[in-house]
Symmetry: C2
Subunit: 333 residues, 2 copies
């Protein structure tokens, strides 16, 4: 038996988003888990982080949220509504955020739950973050609906890929606090699908949740890998390009499952940062990988163990992130 906390944010209790949250709760209860639901709209949760968070006052002249959070932590000074939510969070083995994607992120009522409940001193801080965080060894799931179809949120889609858009949640909230972010459950274009498709989605959710405790999870960043002053990575990064000649009449190249598994493991371990995978043109197939490793021999060996790359030419050089910034300056004037 595990403790599941579902934090739900939709203003309409009969919405499909609310049906997803209810289905998740029922599924976990039926499987014997203990489920707590914070239905933020039903609770009229106030999302504005302010002095109303606290019964205590550390400094009446100047309001510095982290200082007040630290003081309230030391003096039992959180208002009961937050104290209750903090205890739910502290007890959760699985944290579920259930929401419609509003402006590519959390509805304000849920963002404010994060702003107020994840308090410095109480929930994180003083060394408790990432692999040292509250959620260490625990899991977190985003359960969301979108307005646009999946293809709008893929690489090359109008809205940019969902992985990027959810980075503030997956990396900045879940992993920052130690929770391993699971693959999100997304109901694409939920407003535009009929009752049958919705029933299928609810069934897909039930099936997914049945195995959610055994899904492989990405590791959260290990604080020891980063410089304690600058928080810059102490491990190095490498660019490995791979290429091979392909005969014009060769069959379509299909990467073996074992290679896919190995690459997912590298990704989940934080070793494979990104991959750019080409098709074939002019008799050449190529790809480029960004890897995090101790040295270039290690980076190369990580990839050379893949059977799909056994007949490829591999070229590995350290990444030069400063020069990359100068040459890919999205924000420089």
């Amino acid at each position: 038996m595990a403790n599941v906390l579902i934090v739900h944010a939709h203003p309409e209790s009969n919405s499909f988003s609310s049906a997803l949250a209810r289905t998740a709760a029922e599924t976990f209860v039926q499987a014997g888990h203990r489920v707590t639901v914070s239905d933020l709209y039903a609770m009229s949760f106030d999302p504005v982080s302010a002095r109303t968070n606290y019964l205590t006052v550390a400094n009446p002249e100047y309001f510095k949220p982290q200082a007040e959070e630290q003081y309230a932590t030391e003096h039992g000074g959180f208002v009961p509504a937050l104290e209750t939510e903090m205890r739910k969070l502290e007890e959760a083995d699985l944290l579920v955020f259930s929401f419609p994607l509003w402006w590519f992120g959390l509805p304000a009522i849920l963002k404010g739950w994060v702003d107020r409940v994840f308090a410095y001193g109480r929930i994180y801080g003083r060394g408790r973050w990432y692999d040292q965080g509250l959620g260490r060894g625990k899991r977190a799931l985003a359960l969301l609906t979108t307005g646009s179809p999946a293809t709008a949120y893929q690489r090359g889609g109008l809205h940019t890929d969902l992985e990027t858009m959810l980075a503030p949640l997956h990396h900045g909230i879940f992993a920052f606090n130690g929770f391993s972010p699971l693959r999100p459950f997304v109901s694409w274009g939920a407003a535009h699908i009929g009752p049958e498709a919705r029933a299928d989605q609810l069934n897909a959710l039930r099936e997914r949740l049945a195995t959610i405790w055994s899904e492989p999870t990405p590791v959260v960043p290990e604080v020891a890998d980063y410089d304690p002053q600058t928080f810059a990575d102490k491990r190095r990064r490498f660019l490995v390009t791979v290429r091979k000649p392909v005969l014009p009449d060769a069959p379509q190249f299909v990467p073996p499952k074992t290679d896919q598994q190995r690459l997912r493991d590298l990704r989940f371990a934080g070793t494979l940062v990104r991959a750019l995978v080409g098709g074939t043109e002019n008799g050449i197939w190529q790809a480029a990988f960004e890897l995090r490793a101790s040295d270039s021999a290690k980076a190369t060996s990580l990839l050379s163990s893949l059977s799909m790359l056994s007949d490829c030419e591999l070229t590995c050089t350290p990444l030069d992130l400063e020069r990359e910034q100068a040459l890919s300056p999205c924000w420089q004037s």
Copy 2:
């Protein structure tokens, strides 16, 4: 003279974040612009999007926010507090969001301003988005403070790069509504710097704002480039790898300024999607570029015009985004 709207979100009027917002307002006024400030904490702005947004009711049985927004648009049904903010937004030539970075995003009070003020029907929708959006030809600036130093938010930093973390704001809010997202003004580690460093920061802000109207800006996505049903990109993407031999005693390679300028232009035009730039090892320098183009000859020619690549071997293949997803599966089970 231009209209500047500063939407500010910090609970302490004497905070450095508030000083940045005040300095921005003063600088624009002194330059002869018309400045409107929405100080959300001072206004006790309610960030919870709900039926309280509207004087009208389209459907009393089932609350669907976009349907109510459309109905309120047609019937003058937004409550006065939102009507006022919508008019400010509609009149703004430059939109400034001023905030401390809380949990890698907007404080809830500001996220809720977005949730409620950017209403479907009134502000966006029915073809008004991206290059067809309200902010077409206008600019938007994020003015923010962080707790951690810049190095934590660079590529390879513990917190992941700030460009990724701000994508929901820059792409999903600013560009989605047609505003060109400017390079953000960031006061890194603002809580940990002294009065002199803060004065320097305020001066740097004044200098930046003096030229903000002439800064080059990235284009926002052009809706016509995307399939109207799937919102998938109709243009293609290419992986171009470049490499050249470097003599062991060659001086450190410094890309010429003209190349940097050209690459920034390609980035701002949406043509250069990303760059991975290596250092030199074993006598080889290499880099990998992802480009958006009509065909591979065009993609190659975009890079071959760079003087730094004149003596490089270029290999261009189309990107295979499906295979990439299979081989870099951050979320696949």
